[in-house]
């Protein structure tokens, strides 16, 4: 079969610009052939190379005594004591999900689960952070239904509990939804597997499902903006098979136990190309592949197609040849492909043979290490204009506006489509704050949360970046967990625009300050750029996935508010109006305004207040942090969870709906409240009583409404509008 000639048009179609092409010629000292061009494009696209973001990602704090492995491997690894570790990462599947919501979201789940079990960890928890366009946009309902169905269809079959996540709606996502999938797994610290190959002449083994033409060019597609040719891109979306993934996970973990695995890497974006190059590069070795031996699902596949296929549920491994029979037996047991497709070589070459012909011969280390790196021009986001006048509102009308918004309505319609309890260790389900999963067979538990407030990041990238981390921190604290570490999923627009790059740089700075102050280093992450449609960018959305530990199950804060409990507010507002309303939920949902600055995050106060909660957890029955919707929303949610009314003394709009940070609402009995007040005095943290839980009404000052009526709105608004 003759291959297309490498023309200027073909080069452009591969997303390679003129400077990058000159660099390829300089490296090779010749023109690349078609297959080689494809390999370069796969390695050098934004999705795989992080060429626009690397410079700034390097500035993130990634170290700490708890960190076993930071960014750079398939997932980050954090010590949880007793010879065990938690392995986790968050990754986006935005573009595929917009084009084909079910399969895009499903394979997003598949990819993140593989990242975790490739390292030898059994996945124990999943979360999803989803951002959609306005509910009135004609595409939104189809996307919501398809994405949720796809996540459920994959995760439920695979058998991992979903314990948290977020769902938001905003016009800025109308043409570009976000699907960020998080997975965490559990491993023994002395049984972690990495991707670096070692040893010359070692067999390179292909594991899992067969290779088809699905997803050819997917990583390049994910690195481009959308326009009206989007439907033509549907064939670049992969198709998921969770049943094969489940078998691949079981087989891989069994295989690892045999001692046959020298190194292993999952085939994700740019499939065989990325995985082989990464294993070779990290081990300082070359790789020779013979594509005739690759298990193929379709006939007459070319070298180009096989090297760029993104068929799912596949792994590449370097095998200890002495244990080949044992390794093969495991894959026969699980009815999965096991094929030796190449070997490691001493020379620094990436050699691709197909039907006796050399289809590519590239310098491997250079291919991996010389991906372009850009210092994109950026401009600082201008300071937000001051908040306009905001009149006092009827507090019940304000609360109703929030409860009936799909952004703040209960998301049970979503969570109920995900298995939350499989594996038998789920202690706290999604819906309110962090999810908690017991470490199987121990007296420890892990807490998980994912957070970001994109409208804050838009108004003030630095404070918004800090706030995403701070909210994740507070959600972990609210269940009594000690925050351990974070993963970041940076979703932004076109980095070639200085103002977008400025959002990215600002958010990175904010995240860095916060993870450093709160001791939650970033151990893994993912960057998704070019989230634009016809030149309009999304809200900057740096999603933070965070993990915390409960060293003893008894330290969990997991109760609910009861009749007679006191409502205590930890933290305070420094705003002269009595609450920070800039960029608040009430402003957006009630006034249809998005103005003012994001709330300032005092990281010192965050740490002091978090430490106070952990130190006094035995005095706290229930706890929730104040975030979107401020005190009013926190009070309502706590009352609803406990099935009891609440009376707050204030009816002031800023006090009820302001979104000042570093605050928590606490429920406890009178004696406990007295003890907490004494402790707060000693610790010099601001704590005061703001009301009491009792009866069956929500009362803010003089305004009152039955809890049942408000709960009805909260429980039904999402399905009514968004599905």
């Amino acid at each position: 079969m003759s291959e297309p000639k490498v023309t200027e048009e073909l080069i452009a179609k591969h997303g390679i610009n003129a400077d990058e092409y000159s660099e390829i010629i300089r490296i090779l000292n010749r023109e690349p052939n078609f297959t080689e061009l494809g390999i370069f494009s796969a390695m050098w696209n934004e999705h795989c190379s992080y060429k626009s973001s690397k410079k700034w990602l390097r500035t993130l704090p990634t170290q700490g005594p708890q960190v076993i492995c930071g960014p750079g491997e398939n997932a980050g690894i954090v010590d949880i004591g007793d010879g065990q570790c938690v392995v986790f990462k968050m990754e986006s599947h935005n573009h595929p999900s917009y084009i084909e919501p079910y399969q895009g979201a499903a394979t997003g789940m598949g990819g993140i689960l593989r990242d975790v079990f490739t390292m030898g960890a059994r996945p124990i928890a999943a979360m999803n952070s989803l951002s959609f366009g306005e509910v009135t946009h004609p595409k939104t309902r189809q996307l919501v239904n398809g994405v949720v169905d796809g996540i459920g269809g994959y995760g439920n079959c695979f058998g991992v509990p979903t314990v948290g996540g977020e769902v938001r709606f905003h016009a800025a996502y109308n043409g570009n939804c976000l699907v960020n999938a998080f997975a965490a797994g559990l491993a023994d610290t002395d049984k972690i597997f990495y991707s670096a190959a070692s040893g010359v002449g070692m067999p390179v083994v292909y594991l899992g499902a067969k290779t088809g033409r699905d997803g050819v060019g997917g990583a390049t597609m994910a690195s481009a903006e959308f326009d009206d040719t989007i439907e033509e891109k549907r064939p670049t979306v992969q198709v998921g098979d969770p049943f094969t993934e489940k078998r691949l996970m079981e087989a891989t973990l069994e295989l690892m136990a045999t001692g046959a695995v020298i190194s292993i890497q999952d085939m994700g974006a740019a499939g065989l190309t990325c995985s082989a190059v990464e294993m070779g590069d990290k081990g300082g070795l070359g790789v020779r592949l013979n594509l005739d031996d690759v298990p193929q699902r379709e006939q007459n596949m070319t070298a180009y197609e096989m090297m760029l296929s993104e068929s799912q549920e596949r792994m590449l491994m370097v095998l200890n040849p002495a244990l080949e029979a044992e390794a093969r037996a495991v894959f026969v047991k699980w009815d999965l492909d096991f094929a030796i497709v190449g070997e490691t070589i001493a020379e620094d070459r990436f050699v691709i043979m197909h039907k006796g012909v050399c289809k590519a011969d590239l310098p491997l280390a250079t291919l991996s290490g010389s991906a372009p790196e850009y210092d994109r021009p950026w401009v600082e986001t201008p300071a937000a204009a001051p908040l306009g006048d905001t009149p006092q509102i009827d507090p019940m009308e304000g609360l109703r506006a929030l409860l009936s918004s799909p952004n703040y309505a209960s998301k049970h319609w979503v969570y109920e489509q995900y298995d939350q309890k499989v594996m038998g260790d789920t202690m706290r389900m999604p819906g309110m704050g962090a999810g908690v999963v017991r470490v199987h067979g121990t007296n420890k538990a892990l807490a998980f949360t994912s957070d970001v407030t994109p409208r804050y990041v838009m108004a003030n990238p630095v404070e918004g970046g800090k706030q995403a981390v701070a909210e994740a921190y507070r959600n972990l604290i609210s269940v009594g967990a000690i925050p351990l570490a974070t993963t970041d999923n940076m979703n932004f627009g076109n980095p070639e625009k200085p103002e977008i790059m400025g959002q990215f740089v600002g958010a990175i700075k904010g995240i860095s300050q916060a993870v450093s102050a709160l001791d939650m280093p970033i151990v893994s992450g993912n960057v998704s750029l070019y989230n634009e449609t016809d030149g309009t960018g999304i809200l900057p959305t740096p999603t933070i996935g965070a993990v915390g530990i409960l060293k003893d199950l008894d330290t969990i804060i997991d109760g609910v508010a009861r009749d007679g409990h006191v409502a205590l507010l930890l933290g305070e507002s420094s705003d002269p109006l009595g609450g920070h309303l800039g960029q608040s939920a009430i402003l957006a949902e009630f006034f249809n305004r998005e103005d003012g600055d994001a709330p300032h995050v005092d990281l010192g106060a965050e740490k002091r207040h978090g430490d106070f909660i952990l130190a006094n957890h035995t005095l706290i029955k229930a706890c929730t942090d104040l975030s979107d919707g401020g005190l009013a929303m926190a009070a309502f949610e706590m009352a609803e969870a406990g099935g009891v009314g609440i009376r707050l003394d204030t009816d002031e709009t800023p006090a009820l709906f302001g979104e000042d940070q570093a605050r928590y609402l606490i429920a406890c009995n009178f004696d406990e409240a007295e003890a907490l007040m004494v402790a707060a005095g000693q610790a010099q943290v601001p704590l005061r009583s703001v009301g009491t839980f009792s009866g069956d009404e929500i009362t803010f000052g003089a305004a009152t409404c039955p809890l049942s009526e408000l709960s009805e709105i909260h429980q039904t608004a999402f399905a009514r509008q968004a599905t």
Binding site: C157, G159, K246, D419, K421, M423, T426, M427
Partner: protein
């Protein structure tokens, strides 16, 4: 009591079920679907939840034709005990060991939530520690839990007292609100809800523990 938990490719509640059985005192062996016989002296064969063979065909249809399933059928024909939960219930109906079929939920969505069940028959090894009419809370997690039998079969099941559990607030469209049924000799129970997810006080619900302890007590006594 000796219990065997069958493991099909795609089973994902196998460990959970083994944990619940062991917690109640059973001696549990995991048995791979390609095996052609059960361990000697097995009293109970338990078929776990999950997505056997991906459930790409009718749920449970391929598992019902696995080598180990022939041994399961032989075990039941000899009067042995069997328990099928969720996908396991689907497998038991596909083998014909229990009547009826489980089709897609009436709401067409996968549904994971806690549901209230009414105990309809306490004259089985599985339910003897409950009181007739007791309300228990078990979690459900299924896409195809809509139990269907023809009218005459429904009348027969009712007449023979073979409906073990009904839903208080039917989540999936099952005929007669049926959540679980037993065989004629009451030694085989299939149900969609997951009692094995409700046995541990740490997880906040122990309503399912009584089923496992009852089962073990009656097998040991028999």
């Amino acid at each position: 009591m000796k219990a065997a938990v069958l493991v099909f490719p795609g089973s994902n509640c196998d460990r959970d079920l083994a944990v619940a059985l062991r917690r109640a005192g059973a001696d549990v062996t995991m048995v791979w679907h390609k095996d052609d016989h059960l361990p000697d002296g097995v009293d109970l064969v338990a078929v776990p939840g999950g997505f056997s063979f991906g459930d790409y065909l009718r749920c449970g249809a391929i598992a019902a034709r696995s080598p180990i399933t022939k041994s399961l059928i032989g075990h039941v024909e000899r009067g042995g005990y069997a328990l099928g939960i969720c996908n396991g219930f689907q497998v038991l109906t596909e083998t014909g060991l229990l009547p009826g079929a489980l089709i897609r939920n009436a709401g067409l969505k996968f549904l994971c939530k806690d549901v209230a069940l009414k105990v309809e028959n306490t004259d089985t090894a599985f339910t003897q520690t409950y009181t007739l009419g007791d309300e228990v809370c078990y979690p459900i997690a299924h896409h195809d839990g809509n139990y269907q039998v023809p009218d005459e079969k429904l009348a027969e099941l009712r007449g023979e007292g073979r409906i073990a559990f009904t839903y208080k607030d039917n989540p999936n469209g099952s005929v007669g609100d049926i959540a679980g049924v037993v065989s004629r000799n009451a030694r085989v129970l299939g149900l969609m809800p997951h009692p094995e997810r409700a046995v541990d006080p740490v997880l906040g619900n122990t309503d399912g523990a009584a089923m496992f302890s009852a089962l073990i007590a009656s097998v040991v006594a028999a």
